[in-house]
């Protein structure tokens, strides 16, 4: 597929000593990391703090302590937030769309909000739909879409301003294996010139597409590396949960490859 990704900026997202609580419970504990260009996968079991970290990076919630900067500018003050949000596209795990409108209208509206005429927004919308493989469904009503298509449409809406930082919370949910492969291609392509941070509990996806893998466990960053580093870490199985052990085994079995042409199904994993 010919690339048509609009070149963006290689954005640094720097989180320093981020701490966050929900009531008395500490959800993120002194997390520090700098996200440069590329695709980052956030791994962790439910409750590890992935969504909270993404929300913090998206400036949706305010950390209890710590600092956040995007492209060198601090992002926690009012002006900082305003600046930062122009560089961020965020798709939450659960989201709504304009059900009574068409696929195109949803994305076109999202594009129009960022400037340009309605026609220009339509052009950008088509580009985004092409990226996520929904161009043929442009005139379909949203309420008639499958779960996977809705997911891709959500990604298109988040992506259509072509932000420098794209934050996706569980983007693979609801996608079938072929769609997940396509999604990996899209995000990989987008991450060449931008920063993409996605959270998931599916080890296969992260290993297949992420340049960098971060593992969160009970609010702390316990791992930072790539797929090979992750495989090496599997030798100390007691440091990982049951889910991680499963992914680790498949990784060792060599059944997961970024360039795999033959795909076998194992439940909802490849």
């Amino acid at each position: 597929m010919e690339d048509c990704v609009v070149s963006g900026e290689d954005m640094d997202v720097k989180a320093c000593h981020i701490t966050y609580r929900y009531g008395q419970k500490k959800v993120l504990d002194d997390v520090s990391y700098t996200f440069g260009g590329g695709l980052y996968g956030l791994l962790g079991v439910n409750g590890a703090g992935k969504t909270t970290l993404l929300k913090l990076l998206a400036t949706i919630i305010q950390p209890e302590s710590g600092s956040l900067s995007i492209d060198g500018d601090e992002a926690l003050s009012r002006q900082g937030r305003k600046r930062a949000r122009t560089h961020i596209g965020y798709l939450p795990q659960c989201f709504d769309l304009l059900e009574a409108s068409t696929v195109l209208h949803n994305v076109q509206y999202a594009a129009w909000l960022h400037g340009g005429s309605w026609r220009d927004a339509g052009r950008r919308a088509y580009e985004a739909l092409e990226l996520v493989g929904l161009r043929e469904r442009a005139q379909s009503l949203v309420k008639g879409l499958s779960g996977g298509m809705r997911q891709r449409l959500g990604i298109a809406c988040a992506m259509v301003p072509f932000p420098g930082v794209l934050l996706l919370d569980e983007p693979s949910v609801g996608l079938d294996p072929l769609q997940r492969i396509r999604l990996r291609e899209v995000l990989h392509g987008y991450a060449r010139d931008n920063t993409v941070i996605l959270s998931t509990h599916l080890v296969d996806d992260v290993v297949a597409m992420a340049d960098h893998i971060l593992v969160l466990d009970r609010g702390s960053l316990i791992f930072d590396g790539d797929a090979d580093d992750l495989a090496a870490m599997g030798e100390n199985a007691e440091e990982m949960t049951t889910i991680w052990e499963s992914g680790y085994r498949r990784l060792l079995a060599g059944r997961i490859s970024e360039d795999a042409e033959d795909v076998e199904m194992y439940g909802d994993c490849l």
């Binding site: 048509c4 009012r78 305003k82 076109q108 999202a110 909000l113 052009r123 161009r135």
Partner: protein
């Protein structure tokens, strides 16, 4: 870059965006319903019932308040729209999204406000057209624009509520706000003038910011809405639009619900401040007619003159026709005599605004009305004063004419007991029985009756004869025996004998 073939966009979607087409249509239909139904009822649209007497001033007043139902739905529409397009769960325009603030908030607010205002404006066009057709009224631009502003205001407020709450639960507080706001105006009352002198400028200043306010006085011929009052309301609309837009921007720039205090203050503070300024210091809405030269016409053949404000030609014509019919019941020398001349003044526009003048007329007009020292009867329109309390409709006039031109003082006592006796005993009873029926029969012959005739309680043969006469026969009887009736000299036997003669003659 791949060449992507685009399908042409439907232009309507672009113009309306982000307002959803189907939802907009449904809300518009609901918004149109209330003013259209009120127009049907108040302006005789569709021909239901007798034609109402249309006054330009009544339309001016109605335009300023018949938006009430429309406004309540407009706020729900705004909330519904915002809860969908600016939902906190929608990645397109959630509060945490980026994008141009004007496009995110001001554009949908502006478009929705225009739609809501336009819906009310269009819904009132049938009533306006009907009034213009029936009167000489000019297009009521001021009142029309004034009425349209409130649905726009309510839409904008509803949209802001929807942005703040971010889901469809926002409809609940939105509905509460709508009902409270609509009800608030009913608690602001202006005291009615106690005397027969009305202020030149009246009405509550709070009408500029509240949807419905008791004005203290109703419509009257020659009434006008102060243009500066319309300007004031338009300014208030802009204040609401700007403060709601700023509130949404403050909300979107913060951390969502945690920013609600600042966002709410951004919305509420300017609205309250400007609202208070307008409520306490703004212009009064209504301007009464300046002293005018009335339009007077004498009913042919009798000393009966009907006067109205120059704007009130439709009402003048109606009353002239009715009084011409009434006058045909009194072809006696009394009705022709200037000694018993009557001048009827139609409406509150004649009520003076100057304690030193008896009427709101120019010098020449006053001389014209009082020339020959007639008995002056002033009808009231909508608002009652001490001078007009007894004269609200045409039936009151028919009774007044009877009292002046056929006083029959000899029957005064009998008239007090007309519902007590089951038999007509003497001429006074006969006169009282006839005078009790006359107003309704006069109205019936003038084409203004309700289809029933009030009679006394007597049911003997003479009473039965009088009751079974049709209106024409009854009038002929009164005309033929007017002098005798006035002296209570028509006995029950005379009634029976007259009936026998008539039967024998036919």
């Amino acid at each position: 870059m791949m060449c992507i073939q685009q399908r042409p966009q439907r232009l309507g979607i672009g113009i309306l965006a982000p307002l959803a087409g189907p939802s907009t249509v449904i809300f518009v239909l609901f918004m149109v319903t209330y003013p259209l139904l009120m127009s049907l009822r108040n302006y005789g649209l569709g021909g239901f019932g007798p034609d109402p007497v249309l006054r330009e001033s009544a339309l001016l007043v109605d335009l300023t308040w018949m938006h009430l139902g429309t406004s309540c739905i407009a706020i729900l529409y705004g909330t519904w729209l915002a809860a969908k397009t600016a939902s906190s769960r929608c990645p397109i325009n959630a509060w945490w999204s980026s994008g141009r603030m004007m496009r995110r908030f001001v554009t949908p607010m502006g478009k929705g406000a225009i739609i809501c205002a336009g819906t009310y404006g269009v819904a009132m066009l049938p009533a306006i057209t009907r009034t213009q057709y029936a009167t000489t009224a000019a297009f009521p631009w001021g009142s029309w624009i004034f009425g349209m502003t409130m649905p726009a205001i309510m839409f904008v407020i509803g949209y802001a509520i929807g942005v703040f709450i971010g889901n469809q639960w926002a409809l609940v507080p939105s509905l509460v706000v709508a009902l409270l706001y609509a009800a608030s105006g009913f608690f602001v009352r202006t005291s009615m003038p106690a005397s027969n002198v009305y202020p030149r400028y009246w009405g509550s200043r709070w009408t500029g910011v509240l949807p419905v306010v008791d004005s203290g006085m109703g419509f009257e011929p020659g009434l006008r809405l102060d243009p500066w009052f319309v300007v004031t309301r338009c300014v208030f609309l802009m204040v609401v639009l700007c403060s709601c837009a700023v509130g949404c921007m403050v909300f979107a720039g913060g951390y969502g619900w945690k920013t609600w205090k600042a966002a709410s203050a951004s919305v509420i503070t300017p609205i309250v401040i400007v609202g208070l300024i307008i409520g306490y210091m703004g212009p009064r809405p209504w301007m009464r007619s300046e002293p005018f030269m009335p339009m007077c016409k004498q009913v042919k053949g009798v000393a009966l003159t009907v006067c109205s404000h120059p704007d009130d030609t439709a009402v003048h014509d109606k009353y002239t026709r009715a009084l011409t019919s009434f006058a045909s019941w009194f072809p006696s020398e009394w009705a022709l005599s200037r000694q018993h001349a009557i001048t009827v003044l139609l409406g509150n526009s004649f009520t003076s605004s100057d304690p030193n003048r008896p009427y709101n007329l120019t010098e020449a007009g006053s001389r014209m009305v009082t020339a020959g020292r007639p008995s002056v009867i002033q009808m009231h329109t909508d608002t009652v004063s001490a001078a007009t309390i007894n004269f609200s409709d045409i039936r009151d006039l028919s009774m007044a004419l009877i009292d002046i031109w056929l006083p029959a003082e000899c029957a005064t006592e009998a008239r007090r007991h007309v519902f007590d006796h089951d038999q007509l005993m003497n001429g006074a009873d006969v006169t009282a029985f006839i005078l009790t029926q006359m107003p309704d029969r006069m109205d019936n012959l003038a084409g203004l009756g309700h289809g029933y005739t009030l009679t006394g309680s007597a049911r003997d043969e003479a009473a039965r004869i009088l009751m079974t006469m049709n209106d024409e026969q009854f009038r002929k009887f009164v005309i033929d025996h007017e002098a005798a009736l006035g002296a209570c000299q028509v006995s029950p036997d005379d009634v029976i004998g007259n009936a026998a003669q008539s039967d024998g003659g036919t």
